[in-house]
């Protein structure tokens, strides 16, 4: 019996050895949903983090990309960066236990997690432990209004995106005399959906738009019929949905069934930019607008996107870079640059480097103006785009200076699709 136990311990120490790694290496805990209804998005995000690791730990010739020229982090004498990946399954309690496990495992910083609800819970654990938590891809505005010292968000939040939507409606009204005044808000009930819906409602009132229908529903529902019926009855000029993938599919199918044709549908990202959204829905997706911090047609103005996409495809099994992976990549690179600037794996020094971080827009693959955190830990230099599905592809339509296509207005009716 004793022999068996000793053999098992020897075997375990053997397989654990590479994970523990050498002392000077930087270890970062990464949590994403790898099972459950958003698993594909989580897998793509992890592929994006692996793309960033590939660039950081190996030599690459990508002009303008920080940390690409050398192997490892120069600020830490060429230390390599490794990650420990955890699956939070979309549930805050699982996110917390995964984070606790990783902190016990000695990670120097945490990164993730797409679901705002998970980030909200997990970042309180890291705050207590005094370990930085960097986020690239969660959009609930509340995340950076909690006064946390160790939490930083590189990507935009829904308040910023919603502001972009209202700027667009205002510009569009002025340019085309369109008179779009009434809004319908449809959102699911997780932290992200609820925050998005209430932010839109608040901003609409502040900016003089009338919200004639605001509907919250249980996420991953089996039917959206009564919701669509209410929207059809009120018929707002612009519909603003905040939904994850399964609900976005169900909503469009139900809208088709009940012949509900909004003049404009401006989605709050998420399900509407899932890589499978257009390929799966085909014609049904035509005319849909979504906000996004990224679109592949930006490759014309940001040439680095092409090179990064090639490396990303190696890690994602051939899938192309899309919105969430682009944000995940950008966020992780920002964390790595901060650790490199800190020249240490001490959590407080990393935090200080994050506070002082200043990456110019030219070093990024997203159209942000740069990465520079405000006192609340929110990157203040973010910028988004609005894109519309035209001929089976997302095409940037706003801001007008970045637009690759003209807006199709009103969006095609079901009979026209």
């Amino acid at each position: 019996m004793r022999k068996i136990i000793i053999s098992i311990l020897a075997f375990l120490s053997f397989i654990c050895a590479p994970v523990i790694g050498s002392a000077q290496d930087v270890k970062i805990g990464v949590i994403y949903p790898l099972t459950g209804s958003s698993a594909q998005i989580g897998k793509d995000a992890v592929a994006a983090v692996n793309t960033a690791l590939d660039i950081i730990n190996n030599k690459h010739d990508i002009p303008g990309m920080p940390l690409a020229e050398n192997e490892g982090l120069l600020g830490l004498n060429g230390a390599k960066v490794s990650i420990v990946v955890g699956d939070h399954t979309g549930k805050p309690d699982v996110g917390v236990s995964e984070t606790e496990k990783m902190l016990n495992d000695g990670v120097h910083a945490m990164y993730g997690a797409y679901f705002s609800s998970v980030v909200a819970a997990a970042s309180t654990v890291t705050e207590r432990a005094g370990i930085p938590f960097v986020n690239g891809d969660s959009a609930s505005p509340k995340l950076t209004s909690r006064g946390l010292k160790y939490f930083f968000r590189v990507g935009p939040h829904d308040g910023m995106f919603t502001q972009l939507m209202f700027e667009f409606i205002q510009d569009f009204n002025m340019k085309n005399n369109a008179n779009l005044n009434t809004l319908g808000i449809l959102h699911e009930d997780t932290l992200w959906g609820s925050d998005s819906g209430s932010t839109q409602n608040k901003m609409a009132k502040e900016q003089g738009y009338e919200v004639i229908e605001k509907i919250s529903y249980k996420a991953s529902t089996t039917t959206l019929t009564s919701e669509v019926q209410r929207l059809k009855a009120k018929d707002p000029d612009v519909l603003l949905p905040s939904q994850y993938t399964a609900d976005a599919f169900l909503f469009l199918n139900t809208a088709k069934e009940l012949d509900y044709n909004p003049k404009l549908l401006i989605a709050q990202n998420a399900g509407y930019v899932d890589p499978t959204f257009i390929s799966t829905l085909g014609d049904k997706a035509e005319g849909v607008i979504s906000r996004s911090p990224f679109n592949t047609d930006l490759a014309k103005t940001i040439p680095m996107i092409g090179t990064i996409n090639k490396i990303f495809k190696k890690h994602s099994g051939g899938r192309d870079l899309s919105d969430v992976p682009a944000r995940a990549f950008t966020g992780f690179m920002a964390l790595a640059v901060a650790i490199n600037n800190a020249g240490s794996t001490d959590p407080d020094k990393i935090r200080e480097a994050l506070v002082n971080l200043d990456i110019p827009g030219e070093a990024l693959i997203v159209p942000y103006r740069g990465v520079k955190f405000g006192p609340d830990g929110q990157n203040d230099a973010v910028r988004g785009v609005l894109m519309q599905v035209q001929n089976g592809k997302y095409c940037t339509v706003y801001p007008y200076e970045l637009a690759a296509c003209d807006l199709v207005y009103p969006m095609p009716t079901w009979d026209q699709k």
Binding site: T35, G36, S37, S38, A39, Q40, K43, D189, I215, S216, Y217, K218, S220, T221, T222, T223, T225, S226, E227, Q229, R230, A233, T245, A246, F249, L250, N253, K256, E257, L258, D259, D274, T276, T280, L281, G282
Partner: protein, 288 residues
């Protein structure tokens, strides 16, 4: 709120209710027969939808025509489930039975994710597409057809269980397995048949839903939740109870969402469920 809109909600609620009912019937049949709650029911629905999807994707068979194949494959899956797992836990404690089917649900979902990735898939351009317009009421053809087929399957199931010799043998086994065995009814085979029919019901509902619903590895969870509610509401083991309960759930969900507030539509369903559990714990049509 006009009469047309309310009528529309009733029609869509009815159609949804019939689908819930058939899914619940499979669950109820298995419970009524051997007292086992199949926590993997949602995953069996997911497997049915994937079967229907792959038959379309690989062989070009529309879900409408592939229903018999899906039923057959799911029935085989049911028989295998019985012989490989359930028969070993028939006499075990309830907690072990719950853990076994719950474990099966995680196993099926994980294997599905491994094999087919967590992507969302729909059948493009199915034969059954478009809608029927009755004045201002719109009825989605796939939904209408799905609910009618589910109703037909339900009637067939009811007829089989109450009118055929095998169905009566099933009922006898459900009532007293030992007495039935004394009379020469092999309970083991009856249980396997019960699983085959239970999963066959799910196969019909899953195939029909493929005409308008996206399939992904977690698709079954919410439908299974409604199925559990329907079974408890209609009465454990009562097939006809499932029909009424499914329709009640569909209507309450649809009308409550339209007339009061869609945010609370699940609340209305569960409020009715709670009332029934408190005042009539055996369910609307249950005997126990």
């Amino acid at each position: 709120m006009t009469v047309e809109i309310i009528l529309q909600a009733i029609v869509t609620g009815l159609m949804m209710g019939l689908i819930y009912a058939l899914i619940a019937a499979g669950l109820s049949l298995i419970f009524g027969l051997m007292g086992i709650v199949n926590f993997a029911h949602g995953e069996h629905l997911m497997l049915s939808m994937f079967t229907s999807f792959w038959l379309w994707s690989l062989l070009g068979l529309d879900p409408l025509f592939s229903v018999p194949i899906t039923i057959l494959l799911m029935a085989v899956c049911g028989v295998l489930t019985h012989y490989l797992l359930i028969r070993y836990i028939l006499k075990a404690k309830m907690l072990i039975q719950i853990c076994a089917t719950f474990g099966l649900s995680i196993f099926i979902r994980s294997v599905a994710q491994l094999l087919w990735t967590p992507d969302y898939r729909i059948v493009e351009n199915p034969l059954m597409e478009g809608r029927i317009e009755l004045g201002t009421i719109y009825i989605g053809q796939p939904q209408l057809f799905a609910s009618l087929i589910c109703l037909l399957a339900f009637v067939g199931l009811y007829w089989f269980v109450t009118k055929t010799e095998t169905g009566l043998a099933l009922q006898a086994t459900a009532q007293d397995r030992h007495a039935a065995e004394v009379l020469g009814i092999p309970s083991d085979k009856m249980f396997a048949l019960g699983w085959a029919i239970g999963l066959g019901c799910v196969a019909v509902a899953g195939s029909m839903m493929m005409n308008y619903f996206a399939v992904f590895t977690d698709v079954g969870i919410n439908f299974a939740l409604f199925a559990f509610v329907a079974v408890a509401l209609g009465g454990f083991g009562s097939i006809i109870g499932c029909l009424y309960a499914g329709i009640i759930i569909g209507l309450v969900e649809s009308l409550g969402g339209l007339l009061i507030d869609p945010s609370f539509k699940l609340l209305y369903v569960f409020a009715i469920y709670l009332l029934v559990v408190i005042y009539r714990p055996q369910g609307l049509f249950g005997r126990y």
